[in-house]
Structures are given as C-alpha cells and as structure tokens.
C-alpha cells in the first residue's frame, strides 16, 4: 500500500473523529500537525488509536508507536509521521512492535 493510500485512510478517520462539518474545511496533508493544526485532544488520540487498530487489524501497533514518543515528539507529531509508520508496517519493513 502506498503512502498516498494510507494518507487517504488516515484522513478519512480524522474526518470521522473531528466531524465532517469542520474537518472538510481543512486541508489535511503529510505536514499537518495533530496538535497545532488539528487541535486533536487526548481523548481523540484514544479514538484515533482504536480506529486505526480496527482499520489495519493487527498489522500496526499504534498504541506502541504513541507510547514510544517523548513529549517533544508528540507536540511536533504530524500526519506524515503516522502515515510513514503505517506504510512501513504494511510493507513489512518495520517491526510491528515498536522497540522501547
């Protein structure tokens, strides 16, 4: 699966979480920051985690991916960071379980 396809999936999930009325007015791309641009709240990260797990089954470990991020990485995290991680998992070039 290409990054473009993963981006389309992640974008669709984010639109569902944020509500179409608001999210469709945004241009969500690889550079979009979850916190500064989307103001994604902690509770919405939980939702994102659940929805990604449902969408990709066990092929990704988003919970582990997030748990491994330090404070500064989370503040700066972009949609592209997540898309790149998912694409690597799906290619099999990235261990599904993130090493601590």
């Amino acid at each position: 699966m290409t990054s473009e396809q993963v981006l389309a999936d992640v974008r669709a999930i984010l639109i569902e979480i944020m509500g179409a009325e608001y999210a469709l007015s945004l241009d969500i791309g690889m550079e979009t920051a979850f916190e500064a641009d989307l103001e994604l709240e902690s509770i919405e990260f939980v939702k994102l985690s659940t929805m990604l797990a449902e969408h990709y089954d066990d092929r990704i470990d988003f919970v582990g991916f997030l748990a491994d991020k330090n404070l500064n990485e989370i503040i700066d995290m972009t949609v592209g960071d997540v898309v790149t991680y998912i694409a690597r998992c799906l290619d099999g070039t990235h261990a599904v379980t993130v090493d601590a």
Binding site: M18, E39, E41, V46, L66, L71, N72, I74
Partner: protein, 388 residues
C-alpha cells in the same frame, strides 16, 4: 493550639479552596498563615487574614505575560509550557523565600498546593508534616493515557528540581505521604479509581465570595430556563469564536431560555433580548436559578455547578480541563464539545439535550449528594488536625 502554613501558587483557582479550610482552622483556635505572591493573594484573602508575602519574582506583570503566552497553547504543548516555563521556575524561585517563612513562622503543619512544590521540598528538608492540597483532581489520574512518556517527563522535572536543591531522595512532590486533600469526590472522579488511605476526598471547599452588586435579578424570566456561559477568568479573550458560536446556537431558543454570558461586553457583537453579558457575575448566588452551565471545565466552576445539581456542557481548553470534562461526561452529568471546532448546531443539540433529558440533572444531583456527604472545608480541617 497549633500553627498551619498554606503554601500556594499565584493562581486564584488554587487559592480559593484553601480560604474556607483556613477559616475552619481559625475558628478552632489555630494560627494560620498563607504564603505566596502578594499580587494574587491580596485581593482574594479576607481582611485580617495573615499573609506572608514572598519575593515577587513572579510579579503581576510576569504572570500576565505567562497568561497571554499560554492562551494559544493546547494539549501537550500547554503541558510542556506549564511545567518547564511556569511551575518549575516558580518552585525554584519560591524555595529560599518559603524556607525563610517556615523558619520564622514555625508551622506545625504545611498545606502545600500541588502547583507549589517548593513548599513540599521545604517541609521535607525541615522534617515537618505536610499535606497536599489538590485543588483540582486532574493530577490524580493520567492526563495523557496513550502517551506515558509525557507524564514521566513531568515527574522527571520534579526530580531534577529537587536535585538542584541537593535533595538526596527525590519524590513526587505532588503527593504527600501524610495526607492528600482532594477537593472532589470519587463519585466525580469515577468509581474505578482507587487510592491509598491517606487520600481524603473532602469535596469542594466553597467559601463566602465578595459580592457582585448590580446584577439585574428581575431580568430572569421564571418561565424560561436559565443558562450561564463562562470560560473562567483567564480565557475570555480567547473565547471570541466560542461566544459567537454560543450566540448562534441559542438564537432560535429565545422562547425557551435566557443566557448569561460572562465576558467583557466588547467581545459580543450583537445582543438579543434573551442574552445578558456581564464581565463579572455573582456566580454562587446565580447557581440556584440555573438549569445548565456551559463552561471550559475549570475544576472550580464544574464543582460549584455540580454542588447545585446543575448539569453542564463542557468545552475544555487546556491544562486539567480535558480531564475534568471527561469526569463530567463519564458521570453522566454533562456533554462535552470541542472548544475550537464545535458548531452552532452541535452546541444547540448539546444544550437542549442536557436541559430536556432528566438523566443529566439526576447525575448532577448524585454528585451534589456526594459533595454534601464529603464534608468540604470542615472535613479538610479534621484531616489536617490529625497530622498534629
């Protein structure tokens, strides 16, 4: 009789709950003092209260700068700012001053706010018993559940702060081993939360507040529901979009409700007849007349609202507010909306739902009952006396 010292940060929300507790102790014959920043403490404490001012490195001007910088921050960026640029420098600047105050006032017990860890450090250095004052319950549960390294970073900040003052065995200064006074109840925190025996859930401590004269009580129409909209004292300017959304949400509801918006009047463009805007309101006097409160989920506003069994619509902005908002929705006492994204339609649905569906009011009343049973300031004073 004994001596108690309250160590507080320069934040009103963290000072107000201590006032009634201090008064209880005074009524029981103890000697009480508050130590903190005079610019914030002065206007809040009742006349005659014993205030020991500490060097104002966090002057009114510096505090105003901190507030304005924090306005645009959300989530983990706000969290990093709070700890790295506010709480730790504040604690560092307070240690020498609080040490001098303790050596001079000679308290038997310190009551230390979670955001004034300097007090905890000094109490430990002097071998004095100390209680944690948890004026918001958000620190008791993990704020960023999916991001464990965020909470770990804050704990490390507290450890590094103690090492700078040569503390050999640093601890998490937000939680005393002697007594943690929590101004909330398990009914609101959530029954799944478990805490050690020295955590005392005393419920909100709401004391007398200075009156706000001139409120037009006759404006309230007994045939319509009354809704208060408040973003607390710090977020009013940041609330322009939110207030506009509120006005659009309630525009078609003029025959059903009246809204009182707490905001500087210049933030509200046009004012329909069923809306009142006031920069200050007598919130405690208003609450018995209210049917719902729309707010930012600040701990004090939420607890005052639930103390009257009134349901909420919560739009958390930053800091502890998302955690408190979650507590409200999990308890069934309100509906949460997104502060920056909520549309007029969503807000209208949320508001009409909490007004029409009695389950929200009954949940709010359950919390109210738990607050009454918890004992408030008197219970807090009982626990503090046991430390003697």
């Amino acid at each position: 009789m004994s001596r108690f010292l309250f160590v507080v940060p320069p934040f009103a929300g963290h000072i107000l709950p201590t006032l009634a507790v201090g008064q209880q102790l005074i009524d029981r014959g103890h000697t009480i003092a508050w130590t903190g920043h005079p610019a914030t403490l002065g206007p809040l404490l009742p006349p005659g209260a014993h205030v020991i001012p500490i060097a104002a490195e966090f002057s009114g001007q510096r505090l105003a700068e901190i507030r304005s910088r924090s306005l645009g921050l959300r989530g983990t960026a706000a969290f990093r700012f709070l700890w790295a640029e506010v709480l730790i420098p504040l604690a560092q600047s307070m240690v020498p001053a609080v040490t001098a105050v303790v050596d001079d006032f000679r308290p038997d017990v310190l009551v230390v706010d979670q955001q004034a860890p300097a007090g905890a450090l000094v109490a430990r250095q002097r071998g004095l018993p100390w209680a944690t004052s948890a004026t918001t319950s958000a620190e008791l549960t993990d704020q960023f559940t999916t991001m464990p390294k965020v909470g770990a970073w804050a704990r490390q900040c507290l450890f590094d702060f103690q090492r700078d003052f040569a503390v050999a065995e640093p601890v998490d200064l937000r939680f005393s081993d002697h007594l943690v006074l929590v101004f909330s109840t398990i009914a609101l925190l959530g029954p799944s939360c478990e805490f050690p025996g020295h955590y005392a859930f005393v419920g909100p401590s709401i004391g007398e507040r200075a009156g706000v004269p001139g409120f037009p009580w006759n404006w309230l129409d007994p045939h319509r529901a009354h809704v208060l909209v408040s973003l607390g004292t710090l977020n009013q300017e940041a609330g322009r979009r939110f207030f506009t959304t509120v006005l659009a949400a309630i525009a078609p509801l003029a025959d059903q409700l009246q809204a009182i918006i707490v905001a500087p009047p210049h933030l509200i463009d046009s004012l329909p007849d069923h809306v009142l805007v006031r920069e200050f309101v007598p919130q405690l006097d208003l609450l018995p007349h209210l049917h719902a409160v729309v707010c930012h989920a600040g701990h004090n506003t939420v607890c005052e609202t639930l103390s009257h069994g009134v349901p909420l619509v919560v739009a958390p902005i930053r800091d502890d507010q998302p955690v408190i908002a979650n507590q409200v929705t999990t308890a069934g006492a309100g509906i949460r909306v997104h502060f920056s994204r909520v549309s007029a339609g969503e807000l209208r649905t949320a508001l009409t739902t909490v007004l029409a569906n009695p389950s929200y009011r009954s949940a709010a009343r359950r919390i109210q009952t738990s607050f009454t049973a918890a004992g408030g300031a008197a219970a807090a004073a009982d626990h503090l006396e046991k430390l003697l």
